[in-house]
Structures are given as structure tokens and as C-alpha cells.
Symmetry: C2
Subunit: 318 residues, 2 copies
């Protein structure tokens, strides 16, 4: 089965199932064409995942597709962008129809859920590798950057942290406990905070999605903003399942583990008091931005050495 | 050396060296931000090349970077788009500084030549694989599609065909002849027809870049346009070097070999007569679009069985 046949059979239906008014031309030509609304900017990001580095061998293809698109879409959430479309560069060893069918199903589910149309792509033979580029739009000037945090801003995170990282210990479990199932679900089916991100435009002074762990990602914000911070460890939101599974290591997962795809944002105190309940209910204040550089941890101590490793990101292995 | 250090040392200078007024935010945040001019559309394409499939092992890193960006940019040429920026997803086995330095040099050369700013990317560890997505713009509605060829249109190709494919036989030559050097240059340093493509907007009814060989790529145009064609083989433009190197196989390379990144376009006869010399001098008429489906070859015969294979595209191997 040739490249074109592959694309037609498994990917064209995904492109057809979610037509986007902004996509003037989809897969099948030399390029795709996207129309950006007047007074909006294009926002885009490319992400790669590699078998054996970012996910284990023989990883279920449907889960792989979902996770890869979720991770890419999470970068749109962190900019406060409205999702529009994506491209997929898929490299895989052989034309295994069952694998492709599973992959396409997972991709279609994720694309529909995140409202991202398939705009184009490339399929090549080689070691299993996916690169996805996601496109969104923001009203001009409203994209939330990492560099906007101001001294005095409150540091907030969405949801609970550490679950997906803890799930790595249970990937091969035949009969996982209910708690293990809960964290496994967050690993296999992460849900990027797309709606929350868009709602935070004009409210948050900076934002980042937590893909590498809270400490690492907050560090990027502090560096880009030229600021420091103090975090109150007792306020870092952890799920009951994570606390039961990991005991006194739970906080370490919350601080170091990635792949939850929650948001970490900074909000001036003056705005925080008037943040609508629909937004505020997803956020927990865990600290504040300070002029003194560096990150200070108060309110407890964490065993973080063993947390958040596994099939993960490049620099952790280097 | 971690991911961020790698990016900063080798890729940030490329981003900095060619600032684009359209790029509101470049590498280093969750997403990049591009502003599309009013009444223009975004045009984009993603391409992947894999070591051992699309290029040999131990391929010079600077040539690899140039070829990969040229191949991607060629898709912009085929749409008649003005180049703006690109993203790079680079997967490589280890942080080899010499390799990275060579790669970054080749990439910077190509980016400057093709006027493409580096907007962002992702670096991951794994088998050597590059995915590049290129972005361009076209005035609304002027993107040249594959589907616009009309019965009676002249079929034209730019430059000469087959050189890059023939070069595969000389990649390991220690002291290549002048003719071999000529075709090797076209393989290592292909120059996508970006200016010609833009000039053909409003003139050509369809366009495709010849990356898979004339017969294959013209076939895509015919299929998309619901038409057939006759090609006069005696008119297919071949370089003197290719004729001398390959003798009676030269035409086969011209028809089947890819990687020259010339354009194949269709132009109504009424427009062809008034095409400016600055455009027409790059084009050769090789046939015409017909209502009867299928591709008919007249004016000679070609030995094409052995031509155009080698390190090439996925479907040729499947």
C-alpha cells in the first residue's frame, strides 16, 4: 500500500469529519491554506515524540495519537489561543493496517475533542516518530507569553499535578487498582486546558503549560520574565489518588513530573479578586512572583529525586 | 548539553539573523506568533526526511539541512507563495557538536537564501529525522492548486530535469568529473523556484513541484484536475551533463527522477503568448492537457526502469 493510499484510507476521513471554515485547502495539495480572521494572529507550535524516548515500545496506537495531539494542543492553551488545525508528520516502520487503524481512531477522537482540523501531513518510513504542528488564532496582541510575569503576581496552577508522571509505574499493570486507573487515565488521555487558556487571555500576565514538571516550567517563566518566586509547597494541588499511591513522594511528583498538561499562570492580585468563578474554580494559588531571582520553596519539604522520570523528555536523559 | 542549551547555541542565531516583520514572536515560548497581512492567506506544508530512507548515513550535515529546507520550500514555490518562516523538528541520536555546528551552518545558508525565518522547533533524541514546516503567504484566492488544469492548457516545466536523480551514482566519487560535479551540485544544493512560482500566480492554472519525478507529479495534477495529457518526449529539457553521463538513459532520469525541485505548471495558450520573457525563459512547453484521461507519451521512447531509484521516497520502497 503506497503513501497516497495510506493517507486516503486512514487520514482523509479525519480531515473530512471536522471541516474548518478557516481551512481553505486541506490535505492533498503541495500546501494547505488557512485564512486568519481580520485582527487576529496565527499562533503555532511543533512537537515531536519518539518511540523509546517519549513513549514505550508497543504503546497502544490510539493512546499514542491522543497523547501526541494533546501535548501539542496544550501549547495553544498556554498562549490563550483558539485551536484551528494541525499537520501530522508520521514516520513508521511498516504499513501495519491494524496499527494505522487504531492510530487514526485515536487521532480522530482527539482532533474532534480539541477542535483541530487535520490540514495536511507527510508519511514516511522509518523509526516510529510523530511530529505534530498545531495552529490556533488569538486576537492581535492577546497571546499570553512566558515573559509577562510581574513582581507581586500570584502564581496559579490548574487542576492537580503529578498524576500522569505517577502513572508510569502502572503502565504494565494487568489489574490496576482504582487509584492506579485514575492516574493512568490522566497519562493516556490528557486534556489540554484549551478553554481555560482562552478565558485567561487578558487576565493572566504569563502562562506556560506544565509538560516538563512544575519546577522546570515555572523556571522558564521566571527566566523569561526576569523574576523570582516563592512557592508554598503545602498548597500544591495533588489528587487523592496520587496521595494514596505515592504517600510522602506525592509532592515530588506534583513538583517534578510532567505530562499532566495543566497550566501555570501568573495573575496580578488586583485581577485575581475579580476573576469569574467559572475560571477561578480551576485554579489554585501556590505562590507569588518576587523581584529576587531564584525559586524558593516554603511550607514543607519534598522527596523529589525519584519522581518524574521514565519515558520522558530529551534533556532528562542527557 | 541540554535541549535548551543546544537550541540557544546553534539555532537562536539563525532565528536572530533573519528577523521577519511578520513574525511577532519567534522561538522560546510555548508557541510562535505570525501576523498575516490583510487580504492574504497563510500557506503551509510539512515535510519529513529520515536517515537511511531519504538520505544515506553519514550524509554531510550542512548539505542535509540545505536539502531538507529546499524540499520544504519548494512546496511554497508550487503554490506561488511568498516565503515567511519555518519550524524545525530535529531528532538526532546524540549531541555531536561538530555535526550540529555543520547542520546549523547549512540551515542558516538555506534560510537566508530562501528568505525563511526560523520561527520555532523541537529537538528530541532518537534516530536522525527532520520534519520542517514552511509558512508562506498568498494574496487571498491566488494560491496555485493542483486541481486547476484545463483542457487545452500547455504543460510547462522549469529548468532541466533528472540531474539530481543521476547524482546518486556519484555521491561517493572521490574525484568526480565536471559533469558529475554539475549533477552533484543540483543534488546537494537544490534551489526551489520561489520567485518563479510567485511570478506564475495569476498565469498558471495549476502547479506542482517535481519532487517525485515528472511522470508521478504530473499524474497528481491530472488526477486532481480530472484530465489527461500528452507529453512530447523530445521536448523534455535535459542538461548537457545528464545527456553525457547517462546517454540513452538520460530521458528516463528526466521523466522519473525526483529531487530537482523544478516546477511543472499548466498555462492556457492565450496567456502563454503574453507571458513576460523574464518568466518564459525559465519554462519549456512539453505537452498539453487533454480531456481523455491518462498520460500519453509521444516523440520517442525512454528507458525508465532503472532511473530515479535510490535514497528516495516512501512509496518507491513499499
Amino acid at each position: 500500500m503506497g503513501e497516497f493510499e495510506l493517507i486516503r484510507r486512514y487520514f482523509q476521513p479525519i480531515a473530512d469529519s471536522l471541516p474548518s471554515g478557516a481551512l481553505m485547502l486541506g490535505p492533498g495539495d503541495d500546501c494547505a491554506i488557512q485564512r486568519i480572521p481580520a485582527d487576529h494572529d496565527l499562533v503555532f507550535s511543533i512537537d515531536t515524540v519518539v518511540e523509546g524516548i517519549h513513549f514505550p515500545e508497543a504503546f497502544p496506537a490510539d493512546h499514542l495519537a491522543w497523547r501526541a495531539l494533546a501535548a501539542a494542543a496544550s501549547d495553544l492553551a498556554a498562549m490563550g489561543a483558539e485551536p484551528v488545525c494541525f499537520t501530522l508528520a508520521l514516520t513508521f516502520p511498516a504499513a501495519d493496517e491494524q496499527w494505522l487503524s487504531d492510530f487514526a481512531r485515536g487521532l480522530a477522537d482527539a482532533a474532534r475533542t480539541f477542535r483541530l482540523s487535520l490540514a495536511g501531513g507527510d508519511t514516511t518510513r522509518g523509526p516510529l516518530t510523530l511530529s505534530l504542528q498545531v495552529h490556533g488564532t488569538v486576537p492581535r496582541g492577546t497571546g499570553i507569553r512566558r515573559s509577562g510575569a510581574q513582581v507581586g503576581d500570584l502564581i496559579c496552577v490548574s487542576g492537580t499535578l503529578g498524576d500522569a508522571g505517577a502513572a508510569l509505574d502502572y503502565l504494565d499493570e494487568q489489574q490496576p487498582s482504582d487509584d492506579a486507573k485514575a492516574v493512568l487515565k490522566r497519562y493516556h488521555h490528557p486534556c489540554p486546558r484549551l478553554e481555560l487558556g482562552q478565558a485567561l487571555a487578558g487576565i493572566a500576565t504569563s502562562a506556560i503549560d506544565i509538560s516538563d514538571g512544575l519546577l522546570a516550567d515555572l523556571g522558564h517563566v521566571l527566566e523569561a520574565s526576569g523574576a523570582g518566586a516563592t512557592i508554598d509547597l503545602s498548597t500544591v494541588p495533588l489528587s487523592p489518588a496520587l496521595r494514596r499511591l505515592k504517600g510522602d513522594q506525592a509532592l515530588g511528583f506534583g513538583l517534578r513530573a510532567g505530562d499532566d498538561y495543566e497550566l501555570c499562570v501568573t495573575i496580578p492580585p488586583s485581577r485575581w479578586s475579580s476573576v469569574p468563578e467559572a475560571i477561578g474554580q480551576h485554579l489554585t494559588v501556590i505562590g507569588a512572583i518576587e523581584a529576587e531571582s531564584g525559586l524558593r520553596l516554603t511550607g514543607g519539604s519534598a522527596k523529589i529525586d525519584d519522581a518524574g522520570t521514565g519515558f520522558d523528555h530529551f534533556r532528562r536523559e542527557s
